[in-house]
């Protein structure tokens, strides 16, 4: 069953490659992404029923957690492809893009989808290869516009992530070494299932070293604090649908990797070591995001830093542990993916109309682009964690976990940073959204398709804030079992 899921994006990529006219490419990509979405949902339904699926002599495997990641990837992927039809179409008409590049874009887009799905479903070391491939494909996607800044961003992204991933490889090797002593030379010394069963007999010092390397390696990919430097450049320079995918989904896949190893490492090294590390990194990412959001001039970079902040929150959630903490973190992954891509789409619309990334020369959004403006403001409220929306629920659960687990200082700092980020974020967005529009910006919103895409996401953001469907709740509880 997993193979079909992986096959779908590859097929669409190939079809897009061979299709000539713009109409063909767009229809092919639409059909492909709907297929991926449906297959993803089917997989989730199957996992919901049989708990674990292992195929292809256990190279591919899917349990509740990977199903959760697949769900995020397919939903955001579908909406992103919907959005990119409108976005790329607009770019084409305005001459920023020619047909050849457009076709290349769609091929790489679906390649990127394939690699992220692969991350979700592969077994132990396949994870490393999948993440490595995501870096490669997304680097290519970034240099679509041959602007100076996007090339520079791509180069930095490439170098820093590859360095990070090499460390992760070393970490994986160390875990493999630990496993081999116990499990012997058999092939499956790398799969999650066998590893978790045996995890508590590993030698603690090796596992500590391995966890450090993994944390730094996948931490670079997830944008945790000291290794986040590539994130603002990459996410602000990439084309909008790609940056939505990057910060909405790719960071979650990297976090998926960290949490996988966290479950293994904690069994042998004891909870204190790993969770303290995660809390330190979480608080660091939150702390570093604050100044950059407070004094930001470029709204896409502001959104990128808010991704760093939210990854910090997820790390904190896992670090706090307990049912509350992990549940909050997992829910936060989903909420963040939805809200962040919504915000990036909004930013994309603004970019198309105002052709500038400076917050200073954008104003009166609510007047000039009523629908996007409204959704952008709602998104801002959601992303900063104001009550009626979904992110508030997950942040609140993490806060409650922090308190009940006794990490008082961390929780107070967490709250303080959130408030400061709220102030900075709102200051910038209120400058953009309200007031009178700059001259030369005539009224009227951008493409209808894009608004539909944003509409779907708004539904998730608002509904989840109020009511978590039982099916969804059960799935997250299953994931929590796996992680704890």
């Amino acid at each position: 069953m997993i193979e079909y899921l992986l096959l779908a994006p590859v097929l669409t990529g190939i079809v897009c490659f061979f299709s000539k006219t713009r109409k063909q490419v767009e229809t092919a990509s639409m059909v492909g992404s709907t297929a991926t979405l449906l297959l993803g949902l089917v997989l989730v339904w199957q996992v919901y029923k049989y708990d674990i699926i292992i195929t292809w002599q256990n190279a591919l495997f899917a349990d509740a957690f990977s199903a959760f990641i697949v769900l995020i990837v397919s939903i955001v992927g579908f909406v992103a492809s919907l959005y990119s039809i409108g976005y790329m179409g607009h770019e084409l008409d305005h001459g920023a893009m020619d047909l050849k590049r457009l076709r290349l874009y769609y091929v790489l887009f679906h390649g990127f989808m394939f690699t992220m799905l692969l991350v979700g479903v592969t077994n132990n070391l396949g994870l490393w290869i999948a993440i490595e491939m995501t870096t490669l494909v997304s680097a290519l996607l970034m240099i679509l516009y041959s602007k100076k800044s996007s090339v520079e961003a791509a180069w930095k992204y490439m170098i820093i992530c590859t360095v990070g991933i090499t460390f992760a490889l070393f970490g994986t090797i160390l875990t493999y070494y630990g496993a081999v002593n116990i499990l012997g030379e058999t092939g499956d010394a790398l799969n999650w299932t066998s590893l978790i069963a045996v995890a508590d007999q590993f030698d603690p010092t090796i596992m500590k070293l391995a966890f450090i390397f993994i944390l730094i390696g996948y931490g670079t990919k997830a944008g945790l604090a000291p290794m986040h430097t590539w994130l603002p450049d990459a996410h602000s320079e990439a084309p909008t649908p790609v940056s939505a995918l990057l910060s909405g989904v790719l960071l979650n896949c990297a976090m998926y990797g960290i949490i996988r190893f966290y479950t293994i490492a904690t069994k042998s090294t004891g909870v204190a070591f790993t969770s303290n590390l995660l809390i330190i990194f979480g608080l660091l990412s939150l702390g570093i995001a604050v100044p950059f959001i407070l004094l930001q001039e470029d709204y896409k970079r502001m959104l990128a830093y808010s991704s760093v902040e939210h990854m910090g929150i997820i790390a904190l959630g896992i670090g706090f542990g307990g049912v509350f903490g992990v549940f909050g973190a997992i829910l936060h992954m989903f909420n963040h993916a939805m809200t962040k891509s919504l915000m990036f789409f909004g930013a994309g619309n603004v970019l198309l109309k105002h052709e500038t990334k400076e917050i200073f020369n954008v104003s009166g959004l609510v007047k000039s682009m009523p629908v996007t403006g409204a959704m952008f403001v709602i998104g801002t409220l959601a992303i900063t964690g104001s009550p009626p929306f979904s992110i508030f629920i997950s942040e609140f659960t993490i806060l409650a976990a922090g308190f009940s687990q006794g990490h008082y200082v961390a929780t107070v700092l967490f709250l303080l940073f959130i408030i400061m980020i709220f102030a900075g974020f709102f200051n910038n967005v209120s400058k953009m959204a309200f007031g009178t529009p700059k001259q030369g910006i005539e009224k009227g919103d951008v493409g209808r398709l894009m608004l539909v895409a944003m509409g779907i996401l708004i539904v998730f953001v608002v509904v989840l804030g109020v009511y978590i469907p039982p099916f969804f709740y059960e799935m997250i509880m299953k994931v929590v079992e796996i992680v704890r």
Partner: protein
Amino acid sequence: MEEIVFGSNIMQLLIALILVSTFMILGSTRLYSCVRAFGIQSFLLACVAGIVAFSTGKIDIYIVAFLTLAIKAALIPYIFIYIIREIKVKREIDLYVNISPSLIIGGILVVISYYLIRSINLITELSSFALSASMSLVSIGLFIMISRKKAIMQMLGILIMENGLFLGAISLTYGMPLLVELGIFFDVLIGVLIMGILIFRINKTFETIDTDMLKTLIG
């Protein structure tokens, strides 16, 4: 069984030579000499893999050894030379940290990694030597990336780290299952290809591949 294999002094000699080749890269100021040294290093690595395969008699390690030889010793240096010739870049590498201090730092890194691995004291005497060599390879690779300005040198730094990891994998666990090794090689190859494309694109837009120019995105 490890002691016998690693007991043989040939293995120690090979690992020592690998370290020497890294220092050659550290010490060289011209691009071509670096690429050549990298080629030698990969070749030596292939020999180490060959010996391990020979002693443990497992077929897939043979394939791995052959692959290292083919890809890392031959194909990648060729790609490097192609890139250098294509971009007509000036030969020497401009550096943040010039040669003598970087050599000293390389030395210190080797000592540190040796001390670190010894303090973990979990593996037998000799293979810990191989592990510390791989650790020092990784750290020197990172140092090269930090201290060299040219984009190509950063690519080279990554590949040196890759070699260090491969050495560590071989010495620790005689290589991973075949499927995984193939995946890693495949990834490394594509990585180099894409970095090449990137370098061409940088050269086209910035007219130089000196990373000092890449400083526009701030704050």
